[in-house]
């Protein structure tokens, strides 16, 4: 069976002539879900989201309904909603399309979520480079206010909520939810230590705060539009709705493909939808869900047991596109930003490229992350410039093993995982790269560092 797309989040924005204007959104059924939501009790809205089985789309895949339940309601402090539109994980470019082409879809989800958690103030933290995206959102918010979908006394419910767009400053770690909160408070984006700083208890201004990804907000709109039970029927049990696969790198047709969870495989995505490898090339590896997820190699076999007990034995091409199956293969669905690598690529250069990214982005608070990321970057780079030794290959692994699990935020894992997954799979090739340079043999044409 050939893979088919099932656009829900991207359904409207792909239509010819679809615009960001409120009128256009209203013509496509806009804000009907919000009307439904404010006619319900906030707890009922939370219940619908829980029933839907929706998982967050920011990378960690945490169940959204459960997250909302953790919100501290006893303290009596105001609750805040913070929408994470920082989109900074390399390989990820899905939220951009929603912001630039269908902002009201996200804003409707924000209004619904704010009602559900009774937040009177919401913030959209958008990455600084999206200057125009921020303006599009501000304009859309003003339009929504003019029609009483936001602002004072929303749709006559007596409930009010303001939304403010806040631009970041080009910093990856501000996508991490507690770094984001610090940044929103006007400070350096240093992630906070958990416990005690779980955002749902001690978030923005030390008040209970829900941080959700931009696409998660768009998904919430559809949960309400369809109802939780109907939404849960899309995809598979444990992973409902659609995933947007943002494929980049060396395929014929890179692009964004929205697929029902679990209803296609990596093989179908990469061959049917993306058209397979470039002329005369062969696929070598993929990084499945943004640069921080662990690399998968073509030719590997993946064997094990799914959470529901089913045993599997897959080639990379057979892995179904849902979070449980992908996690069972030792990596993660992450943000769905799949980076494709083919046989023209020298793997040590690909690793060195990513190591340079993490070394640039570490905030420097934790010694293992700060020193480890720089060290990894230098060691891998020295291999690419001809100064490497065979012992550098196990050294890379050794350094990475000392970073993961020993830091304040998950940037530490993001530093370690590419190395920890790639070294065992490609060490022979790394050694070959060292030898080739020692012997002065010609290097691949494609430079990545």
């Amino acid at each position: 069976m050939a893979a088919v797309e099932r656009p829900i989040i991207y359904a409207n924005l792909r239509k010819p002539g679809y615009t960001v204007d409120l009128d256009c959104y209203l013509k496509h059924g806009g804000y009907e879900a919000l009307k439904k939501a404010v006619a319900m009790k906030p707890e009922e809205v939370c219940k619908e989201v829980e029933t839907s089985g929706l998982r967050g789309r920011g990378g960690a895949g945490f169940p959204t309904g459960m997250k909302w339940k953790f919100l501290d309601r006893k303290s009596g402090k105001p609750a805040y909603l913070v929408v994470n539109a920082d989109e900074s994980e390399p390989g990820t470019y899905k939220d951009r399309q929603i912001i630039y082409q269908d902002p009201h879809q996200m804003i409707e989800g924000i209004a619904i979520t704010a009602w559900a958690i009774q937040a009177k103030q919401a913030f959209i933290y958008i990455r600084g480079e999206f200057q125009h995206g921020a303006k599009i959102l501000e304009r859309a918010i003003a339009e929504a206010k003019s029609k009483n979908f936001l602002g004072a006394n929303i749709l006559g419910s007596g409930y009010s909520c303001e939304v403010v767009v806040h631009r970041g400053g080009g910093c990856y770690v501000c996508g991490e939810e507690t770094g984001l909160i610090e940044s929103l408070e006007g400070k350096r984006g240093y992630p906070r230590i958990k416990p005690p700083y779980f955002p749902a208890v001690l978030g923005l201004y030390n008040c209970p705060t829900i941080v959700n990804n931009a696409e998660t907000m768009a998904q919430v709109k559809h949960v309400l539009a369809l109802g939780g039970t109907e939404f849960a029927k899309i995809g598979i049990p444990g992973d409902s709705g659609t995933h947007i696969w943002g494929v980049s790198g060396l395929v014929k047709r890179p692009g964004l493909y929205e697929i029902e969870a679990g209803k296609a495989t990596f093989g179908e995505l990469l061959y049917d939808l993306c058209g397979g490898p470039l002329e005369g090339r062969q696929f070598k590896a993929i990084i499945p869900g943004g640069s921080s997820t662990k690399i998968l190699k073509f030719g590997e076999r993946f064997k094990g047991k799914l959470p529901n007990g089913t045993e599997f034995d897959w080639a990379l091409e057979d892995i179904p596109l849902d979070s449980n199956s992908i996690a069972a293969c030792g990596t993660g669905l992450g943000t769905g930003g799949t980076i494709v690598i083919d046989d023209s690529v020298e793997m040590i250069q690909a690793l060195s490229n990513l190591n340079a990214f993490y070394a640039h982005e570490t905030c420097g608070q934790c010694t293992p992350c700060r020193e480890g990321s720089l060290w990894l970057s230098r060691v891998s780079k020295r291999i690419t410039t001809g100064g490497g030794m065979e012992s550098d290959v196990p050294l890379l692994l050794d350094i990475a093993n000392q970073v993961a699990g020993r830091t304040i935020c998950a940037h530490g894992e993001a530093v370690a995982w590419p190395v920890q997954s790639a070294v065992p799979k490609f060490k022979d090739e790394y050694v070959e790269s060292i030898r080739r340079r020692q012997n002065g043999e010609p290097l691949p044409k494609l430079k990545l560092i």
């Binding site: 951009r96 600084g128 910093c171 006007g186 060396l250 640069s291 990545l448």
Partner: protein
Amino acid sequence: MTPLQPSTLAQADVIIRQYPQKRSATMPLLHLVQEDRGHITPEDMAWVAEKVGVTPMQVLEVVTFYPMFRQHAIGRRHVKVCRTLSCALRGSYELMESLEKALQCPRGSTSPDGNFTLEFVECIADCGCGPVVQVDHTLHENVTPASAENFVQKIRASLQDPNYGKTAPQPNTPEWKG
């Protein structure tokens, strides 16, 4: 030093009022200043500090943490080439080498005529269209080493355009996506 424009000063108070705590307005005010002046001076930081009720040092801490804030003037066009993996796989390193030659500007510097500042930046969330180059607020997609010459002509031509950066972006144009 030229003073900030009246519109900048007026906007500042509107921005501060949006936040439950004034300090949250630090970054928006810094963006505002940088868009007005092109960079951020110590005097600007002192002004922001007073506006949001912190010390100038606390503003400096913010300025030095975020790569988008700068304390020095740059060229008339800020050319930012994405170097992260998806774009690199599509040729951004080779592209950078040809841009360095064409603009007579090594990466990380400003050309002697002051027209261009050329930099490598990390992923700007348009990975399926790599290599991508953001010039000021405008995003250019699929700038391959082969199309580099064409791209350079375009940004050189923009130096002569009196309306550069003044018109509102139109949907599905490079400006719109930036």
